[in-house]
Subunit: 409 residues, 2 copies
Amino acid sequence: MAGPLPVSPLALPLPVLPPIAGVRLATAEAGIRYHGRTDVLLVELAEGTAVAGVFTKNLCPGAPVTYCREVLPGGQARGLVVNAGNANVFTGAAGARAAEETAQAAAATLGTSADKIFLASTGVIGERLQAQKIVAAMGGLKANLAEGGLEAAARAIMTTDTFPKAATRTARIGGVDVTIAGIAKGSGMIAPDMATMLSFIFTDAAIPAPALQAMLSKGVDHTFNCITIDSDTSTSDTVLLFATGQAGNVPTEDPGELADFRRALQEVLHDLAMLVVRDGEGAQKLVQITVEGAVSNASAKRIALAIANSPLVKTAIAGEDANWGRIVMAVGKAGEPADRDKLGVAVGGVWMAQAGGVVPGYDETPVVKHMQGREIEITVEIGLGQGRATVWTCDLTHGYIDINGSYRS
Amino acid sequence: MAGPLPVSPLALPLPVLPPIAGVRLATAEAGIRYHGRTDVLLVELAEGTAVAGVFTKNLCPGAPVTYCREVLPGGQARGLVVNAGNANVFTGAAGARAAEETAQAAAATLGTSADKIFLASTGVIGERLQAQKIVAAMGGLKANLAEGGLEAAARAIMTTDTFPKAATRTARIGGVDVTIAGIAKGSGMIAPDMATMLSFIFTDAAIPAPALQAMLSKGVDHTFNCITIDSDTSTSDTVLLFATGQAGNVPTEDPGELADFRRALQEVLHDLAMLVVRDGEGAQKLVQITVEGAVSNASAKRIALAIANSPLVKTAIAGEDANWGRIVMAVGKAGEPADRDKLGVAVGGVWMAQAGGVVPGYDETPVVKHMQGREIEITVEIGLGQGRATVWTCDLTHGYIDINGSYRS
């Protein structure tokens, strides 16, 4: 690409990010691929920090994903190292060694063991990660560790992202205020060159790892796993949730006591996932697709994703065309129970088709106006049951071709 | 769209098409949607013609597909009516009536019963097909029926196609020469507005319907079902094979006696499928993807299609970038058995990656040159078994966005 990408028209400003007790961050310019910008992040986590994680389902994952999966069952974290510019994917034994060396160096720097260090890498695939550049940066990173570095962290992990992404909420557990703050990067649901989705969420709440993992897994299911840019699945997608326990609440796994925290976590995950879609490669419109009346929630989600991943639906939206014929096609190709004579399609709340046919004499004016906006809402009624799901995507534009069709420079 | 699309740079000229004994064709301007061009095709088939068919797996099929599925078990055909401009999809009971009326009119015109008439429609979705326009054209069509109208037929069924598509072969059955000739249309693997894939193949061979069906189903599996433009599945895809029995061979179902016919049919299906890919919306390059060493042929095909449908792989090819990282990503997202440390990727016959890593010091020069050509060959070695499959697709370019992102006019 010649020069930086223009900032997405769907970008939102960074919120004010509070420090999280027990979390200290530092960024540095390690020169892994980029120059003149930060590209490595070190996070120090207080003794006793619990951790939960979810990772890509891609069967050819990067070395850092393999590493994290190995140490996650311990449930404890003392550090996190993230680099941008090289994904350390498809690098064989050398990749595993680079991950191990990075973890060892971070462990020594933070005075802990490598099985409490978590790793993530994002950037080009198939080139060896020069771990020594990260190792060499450790001293400087340690010296700069400070609370309140989340905004700088959000910038250091960017690749093809056109804006930094963060979200925060507060909640109460047993009468004690706790805070959640998270950062994310990603702008293709994945472009393995550059645009893997990574997210790191920190809280000062005291929550044991198993309860943390349950909440994260369920939360991701309705947020990050409900967004798609281009149907491609990164080799490196990683979401990690760290709970330092510094807020002073009594540690609890009780679902009732955690209800407010669960709500707040869900909102943070939702916000971060929406920010990734808003930075979808070439995105001009944010699209919400709700499927109702499917035979189950899982069926509704599969239908919704078939619509969201259809290039024909996405190009129609780019063209501001409320093309319900393509939506019907996508419902049919999902392979889920559907009856063409019961289908309904609404755009912006206006039903264009119902019971298998065009709504006679429906007024196209509000639909045309809605399609010209930045945020598009599509609702599909299947008419067979109570299953329901909402997913989010963006349109497919010339910008996507520009970003992904240019020769690697 | 403003004006006609430029002819695909991958277009091939029409072959000389022989008449098929027992097949008479006529085209007419019925004015269903287009003006100043033919848009309806009537085919009269000799008494005793056997028929085989395969149809879209989309669960919201058009009325003509439903109609054909109902009459196909009879195994006999006397006529075929095809219209372009309106797909008769998502039109409810009115759509079923339009199909019925068309079939009744054709049956009366050809002096047969409606259960021996086959139908196909392609064009916009969700608008009522005005069957009376087709019915009104029947008299003129009958008067014009003639052998040797295949080229005109190939043109009459086009929608967003940029060139007409046909293929022909000869074969011997029991010492008798038989001829096969087929036509096709389609330029998105589907754009339901306009670009459904239809193919009609005619032969003068005498082959009973069950044997014909078996050969067609198997043949389609390795040809039309191995091509993808954009992963979307039409509501109207239809392939019909008619055998008039006029060549004079002794009717046979013996696989040995049919071997040469099977070879010739396979070649016709292959040629027609390749022509559809060559007219893929916005296509600048024809891409052949072969997966070897998978755990089974079915697994190899799923992996190959995951690569062929990946927007990131397709945009990389458009950018003439031999981006094997994206190919590895696509292998991983296919969900089939794969081991990243055994993967190999070759482009244009040159292995870029083997055994899970870049081939040290490989010469990029021939790969770069290959990527700049019109026909791209990608081979992926999985390294786990003997499973093998080849699929074909095209690149994803600005042209695709132009064609599909413009407002319906």
